[in-house]
C-alpha cells in the first residue's frame, strides 16, 4: 500500500496535478550543477508548494531471496523533517540507505522501482554512488567517529573533496552547527574517542554537515543517548532543517511528534509466511498522530502494537 502526500497547504488544483501523475515543477528549481544549496537561502518565506527532493516510486528491496520492503512510494519535500517510524525489522533502515545508495555494497542487495532525486534517477547506470553520498549525507545509529582528532574528523572529508580553503573556519562552523563547538573548542587536537556518546554523535553530525550536503539522513541518531543528549540532538534537527532536508528514522514516537513535519509509518505485512515491510501511511505528522486514516497506524502510535 502506498500513500502520497500533497504539499500543505494543499489546493484542489495541486491534488489534481498529483493524481494525474504530473511531477511538481521539478527541474525548474534544481540547484545548478547539483551542488548543495547556498546557506543564504535558508530563512526565506515558506513557498506555497515545496520542491520535492526525493520522489520514491514503487520501490521494492530484496536481500538475496528475501524481500525487505515492497511497493513503497512517497515524496520527501525540501527543508522539512520527514520521520520514518515503524516496528523493528520493517525496513526503515533499508529504505533510508536506499536514498544515498549505502546499500550498494551489501551482498545480495536488489532494488526495483525508481527513486528520483531532484528529478534524476538515483539508480541510473551512469550515476556515481560516491557523488550521490557527497550530496546526501548520513548519520548512523551508533556514533562512528573516525580514529582521528576531533578537528580531523570534521576536516577529513572537506580535505579529500578539495574544499581546502578556510578549513579552520569550515570546521568551526560545522561544529557550531552541531552545537558542539563550545564543548570541544579547546581540545580540537584530541582524539574523538575521548568524547561522550552524545558528543560523538554530534561530532558525526558536524562531520556530515561540514561538506554542506543537500540532504541529511539520520538512522536513529539518538537511540543510544540519554534524554539530555537526545534533547540537544532534537533541537539541532530543528535548527538544521532550515539548511538541509532531513529524513530521520526513529523508534521514539514522542521524538517524531516533536520534530517531524511529515511522518511515514512502515509496518510488517505477513503473507504466505514471508514478512515484508510496507509503507502503511504517510502524512502530516499531526495527522498521523491524531487522525490516522489506517487503524494500524493508530494502534502503533498509541502503543497498542509493536
Amino acid at each position: 500500500m502506498s500513500t502520497e502526500v500533497t504539499d500543505a497547504p494543499s489546493t484542489p488544483r495541486q491534488r489534481v496535478r498529483i493524481q494525474t501523475g504530473e511531477r511538481e515543477d521539478l527541474g525548474a528549481r534544481e540547484p545548478a550543477n547539483g551542488t548543495a544549496p547556498a546557506l543564504a537561502g535558508a530563512g526565506q518565506a515558506k513557498p506555497a508548494a515545496r520542491e520535492t527532493i526525493f520522489d520514491v516510486r514503487d520501490i521494492s528491496v530484496s536481500y538475496g531471496a528475501s524481500t525487505a520492503i515492497a511497493g513503497v512510494s512517497l515524496k520527501v519535500p525540501r527543508h522539512l523533517i520527514t520521520a520514518l517510524i515503524g516496528p523493528s525489522g520493517c525496513g526503515k533502515s533499508t529504505f533510508l540507505r536506499c536514498l544515498n545508495r549505502m546499500n550498494d555494497t551489501v551482498p545480495g542487495f536488489g532494488l526495483t522501482g525508481q527513486i528520483l532525486y531532484h528529478g534524476n534517477d538515483l539508480y541510473a547506470p551512469r550515476v556515481d554512488p560516491v557523488e550521490v553520498r557527497r550530496r546526501i549525507g548520513m548519520v548512523f545509529q551508533r556514533p562512528n567517529p573516525l580514529p582521528k582528532s576531533i578537528y580531523d574528523n570534521v576536516a577529513w572529508a572537506p580535505r579529500n573533496l578539495g574544499m581546502k580553503a578556510n578549513l579552520d573556519e569550515r570546521v568551526e562552523r560545522a561544529l557550531r552547527g552541531a552545537a558542539l563547538w563550545e564543548e570541544v573548542k579547546d581540545r580540537l587536537k584530541q582524539s574523538a574517542f575521548g568524547l561522550s556518546g552524545g558528543q560523538q554523535q554530534r561530532l558525526c553530525i558536524a562531520r556530515a554537515i561540514a561538506i554542506e550536503p543537500d540532504v541529511l539522513l539520520l538512522d536513529e541518531p539518538a537511540s543510544a543517548l540519554d534524554p539530555i543528549a537526545t534533547a540537544s540532538i532534537e533541537e539541532l534537527m530543528l535548527n538544521l532543517k532550515h539548511r538541509f532536508t532531513i529524513v530521520i528514522v526513529t523508534h521514539n514516537m514522542q521524538q517524531a511528534a516533536r520534530i517531524a513535519d511529515r511522518t511515514a509509518f512502515f509496518s510488517l505485512e505477513v503473507s504466505a509466511g514471508k514478512r515484508t515491510g510496507a509503507l502503511v501511511e504517510y502524512d502530516e505528522t499531526s495527522t498521523i498522530f491524531t487522525r490516522p486514516k489506517d487503524p494500524r497506524t493508530g494502534d502503533y502510535v498509541t502503543g497498542r502494537f509493536g
Partner: protein
C-alpha cells in the same frame, strides 16, 4: 488480546504451548528447592573435566619447557662467544683459530631480509586490500587458498624454482636469496594484513563512505591507518621467520667471502644461517664455537622481534577496541 490476534496471524502458536508440554519433559524437570550441591551426574562431569584440564596444562608446560630448553642450550654454548668483536669483525682468515666474528653475516642477513621485505610488503598489502575490498567473494576465497598453498610450499622447492629463474647459467646472488625469502614472506604478510583489514569495523567504512569520499581515499585515509598496526606486526613476524630460513640461501647465496659486500646482483651475500651450516659441519672446534654464537644471535633477534611485534599488536588492538 483480540487486537493482537487480528494483527499477527500465526503468532499465537508460540504463546500457547500444547497441553502435553508438561508431561513430555516431566522427567527432565528441575526441582528448584533441592539443596544446591552437585548432582551425581554433575560430579562425574567435573572429574572428567579436571582430568582433561591437567592433561592440557601438562601439554602446555611441555611446550614451554621445550622452548626454554632450546634457548638454554643455545645460550649456554653461544653466550660465552658473544662480544663486541664477535658482532662486528669477520671470521678469521684461517678458520682453525679462535676469535673473529660474524659481522658481515649480520649485515648480510639484514640486507637480505630488508630487500625481501621491500618486495613482499607492498605486494602482500595490495593482495590483502584486493581480497577484502575489491574482489568478489569467490575471487577472494580463491586467492586466499592460493596464498595458503604458497605458504605450504617447502622452502627448498621455492629455492630450486628461484635458482632456475635467476641463478642458472649465472652466479649465485644475494638478490636471488632475497627473492626466495620474499616468496616465503608474501603469504604471511598478505594473510596477516587481510585479517587485520577484516577487523576494521564496518561502522568506520560506512562513516567514510557516507561522506562522499572515493573508495580509494577512504581506504587510504581511514581503513589502512586503523589496520596499520596489525599489518606491521604481521610483516615483522614474517621478517623474523625469513631471517632464519636456511634452505633457500644454501642454494642461492652460499658461496660468499668473509667480508661485507653489497653487490647483491652479482655476488652471494654472507648470511647467518648459511654460516651456521658451514661452520658447524666443518671439522673445526673453533668454527663450532662461532656457529653456536651465531645461532644465539639469530635466536635472540627472532625472540626479541616476535615479542616486540606481539606487544605492539596488543597495544594496537586495545587502541582499536576503544
Amino acid at each position: 488480546m483480540s487486537d493482537l490476534e487480528s494483527t499477527s496471524e500465526g503468532g499465537t502458536a508460540l504463546l500457547d504451548p500444547p497441553d502435553h508440554f508438561d508431561d513430555l519433559f516431566a522427567s527432565e524437570r528441575l526441582d528448584p528447592a533441592r539443596p544446591l550441591t552437585a548432582s551425581r551426574q554433575l560430579r562425574r562431569r567435573q572429574i572428567f573435566s579436571r582430568a582433561m584440564e591437567s592433561t592440557q596444562t601438562a601439554a602446555a608446560l611441555l611446550a614451554v619447557a621445550m622452548l626454554a630448553f632450546v634457548v638454554y642450550s643455545v645460550a649456554s654454548r653461544g653466550a660465552s662467544v658473544l662480544s663486541f668483536e664477535f658482532l662486528t669483525a669477520g671470521p678469521p682468515a684461517i678458520e682453525e683459530t679462535a676469535g673473529g666474528g660474524i659481522g658481515p653475516m649480520i649485515v648480510g642477513t639484514a640486507t637480505l631480509v630488508g630487500i625481501a621485505t621491500v618486495i613482499a610488503m607492498p605486494i602482500g598489502i595490495l593482495a590483502a586490500l584486493y581480497m577484502t575490498e575489491f574482489a568478489s567473494r569467490r575471487a577472494a576465497r580463491l586467492l586466499r587458498m592460493v596464498l595458503d598453498l604458497l605458504f605450504g610450499v617447502p622452502s627448498i622447492v621455492l629455492a630450486l624454482f628461484v635458482f632456475e629463474l635467476i641463478v642458472a647459467g649465472k652466479s649465485e646472488s644475494g638478490f636471488a636469496g632475497s627473492f626466495a625469502l620474499a616468496i616465503i614472506m608474501l603469504p604471511l604478510v598478505a594473510r596477516a594484513s587481510q585479517e587485520t583489514l577484516l577487523l576494521v569495523p564496518q561502522g568506520l567504512r560506512d562513516a567514510a563512505a557516507a561522506l562522499g569520499v572515493s573508495h580509494w581515499r577512504a581506504l587510504r585515509g581511514v581503513v589502512l591507518p586503523s589496520a596499520l598496526g596489525g599489518i606491521i606486526t604481521g610483516t615483522v613476524l614474517a621478517l623474523a621467520r625469513a631471517a632464519g630460513e636456511s634452505a633457500p640461501l644454501i642454494i642461492l647465496s652460499a658461496v660468499f667471502s668473509r667480508t661485507v659486500n653489497f653487490n647483491i646482483f652479482s655476488e652471494a651475500t654472507p648470511n647467518i644461517p648459511v654460516y651456521i651450516y658451514k661452520a658447524s659441519t666443518a671439522a673445526n672446534p673453533y668454527g663450532w664455537a662461532r656457529a653456536w654464537g651465531a645461532a644465539f644471535v639469530l635466536l635472540l633477534f627472532i625472540l626479541i622481534v616476535n615479542i616486540g611485534a606481539r606487544a605492539l599488536h596488543a597495544r594496537g588492538r586495545r587502541k582499536m577496541a576503544r
